[in-house]
């Protein structure tokens, strides 16, 4: 927030270039991360042909990548402000909620399409251990964001 205020002051002084210079690395970082997630989506599509996967799984993967992209973009653009940590916190919460709901608590049952209704073929994948691991890591990320926000605010208070 301090940097943002500083930027506004400098902008007020007519130094548009300075503002652009401070914004450019953030935009570049945001674009790079977004490109990374788009590349990840592309790679996943190459490794696991989407045509062979059920629609629910494709939607889930896309939704996951969309959330990641949005929060990474927002977090990077607001880098150096308190919003960076707020977006980081929100990203963690959103991803935990999304993965929990999308993967039905870790047990995913899919009915494979067959030419006739009999016999029915069901595929059940138990992701619970992976989901548990992922949620713990995301909780660690949330804790990091809280600590960083406290650090950021304390620095701001300490600053003359």
């Amino acid at each position: 927030m301090a940097e943002a205020e500083l930027e506004m002051e400098t902008f007020g002084e007519g130094s548009f270039l300075k503002l652009l210079k401070s914004l450019l690395p953030r935009i570049a970082k945001a674009v790079l991360w977004t490109a990374f997630y788009i590349l990840l989506d592309f790679l996943l599509r190459r490794i696991f042909p989407y045509e062979a996967l059920p629609m629910e799984l494709i939607t889930t993967t896309r939704g996951f990548i969309l959330i990641l992209t949005f929060f990474t973009l927002a977090g990077n653009l607001s880098s150096g402000t308190i919003f960076e940590y707020i977006f980081g916190f929100a990203k963690g919460i959103s991803l935990i909620a999304f993965t929990w709901l999308a993967f039905c608590g870790g047990i995913l049952t899919l009915t494979l399409p067959s030419e006739t209704s009999i016999p029915s073929i069901y595929v059940t994948v138990d992701f619970r251990i992976f989901l548990g691991m992922y949620i713990l890591i995301e909780l660690l990320g949330i804790a990091t964001n809280i600590l960083r926000a406290i650090e950021f605010l304390s620095k701001k208070v300490e600053a003359p």
Binding site: I47, P119, L140, T144
Partner: protein, 271 residues
């Protein structure tokens, strides 16, 4: 941490990122490996064989699992449940392999046993006289890479049940006298549609006239191998020829080592 210029928040963040990278590597490689395992036909089934003992029918299905993936496979199990046409469970069998380490192939035979006594106890008459369908559910499950549970279930698989006494037919002919007794010749025929059940036993009939009075009984041995037809004539002794009527009922009893059928009541004469 302060000495190397890293705050606790940054340290936790770094650990979190490293864990996330390891997590996604683990998840991606295990999913990719599992997908490859399933799509390249690592699981193969052999020729099914049937064995019939005195009290059970056993189907043996040899299978193998070639673990060409990156990780070990645990708790491989195949479960088969067989139900009769009414949905009653006739058999539930499981074959379990504790582990298939990567780069190895496991061989096992899944055996499904159906107790003939159990099979025939519930719906004996129906199963012996009418063709039908038995239902099966087959489930294959395992744990991959210590963390990924996978289960494939085929439900409502049906396979035909051939009745050993299909199209059972009894046709009484005219009474005749053999010098000592009056005899009622009864034409008997049935089709053994079963793939494995041998019909071998003693058939007994009791004939009743239209007033419900017993007037004749008879016995004969029957023998029919699987997928064969049986035709024979049973000669029943008539105790009182005056009681014989053109219409009536015949009660049929069949005693074999495996099962006892009867009474099956069939009408004779008229429509």
């Amino acid at each position: 941490m302060e000495r190397i210029g890293m705050t606790p928040a940054k340290a936790i963040g770094l650990v979190g990122r490293l864990l996330l990278i390891f997590f996604f590597l683990y998840l991606t490689t295990s999913l990719y490996s599992l997908y490859n395992l399933l799509s390249t036909g690592s699981f193969s089934l052999g020729q099914m064989e049937f064995t019939i003992t005195e009290d059970a029918l056993t189907a043996s299905i040899p299978f193998s699992f070639n673990n060409t993936g990156f990780y070990d496979l645990w708790d491989l199990n195949i479960t088969t449940t067989i139900k009769d046409p009414d949905g009653n469970i006739l058999s539930k069998d499981e074959t379990f392999i504790a582990s298939v380490p990567r780069g190895t192939r496991a061989y096992e035979t899944h055996r499904v046993s159906i107790s003939l006594a159990k099979l025939l106890s519930g719906n004996l008459t129906r199963l012996l006289l009418e063709d039908g369908e038995l239902q099966a559910n087959i489930s294959i499950g395992f744990t991959y890479a210590m963390a990924l549970g996978f289960r494939l279930t085929f439900s409502n698989l049906s396979f035909p049940w051939g009745a050993p006494l299909s199209h059972l037919c009894l046709t009484p002919e005219d009474l005749r006298f053999n010098g000592t007794h009056y005899i009622l010749p009864v034409r008997l025929s049935f089709e053994n549609h079963s793939e494995f059940l041998h019909v071998s036993g003693r058939l007994r009939i009791e004939a009743f006239n239209d007033r419900g009075e017993l007037f004749s009984t008879g016995l004969m041995d029957v023998e029919a191998s699987p997928r064969s037809n049986y035709h024979g004539i049973l000669e029943a002794i008539v105790w009182n020829p005056s009681m014989f009527t053109d219409r009536g009922k015949i009660r049929i009893y069949l005693d074999t080592e495996l099962y006892h059928l009867g009474p099956v009541v069939m009408a004779y004469g008229g429509s």
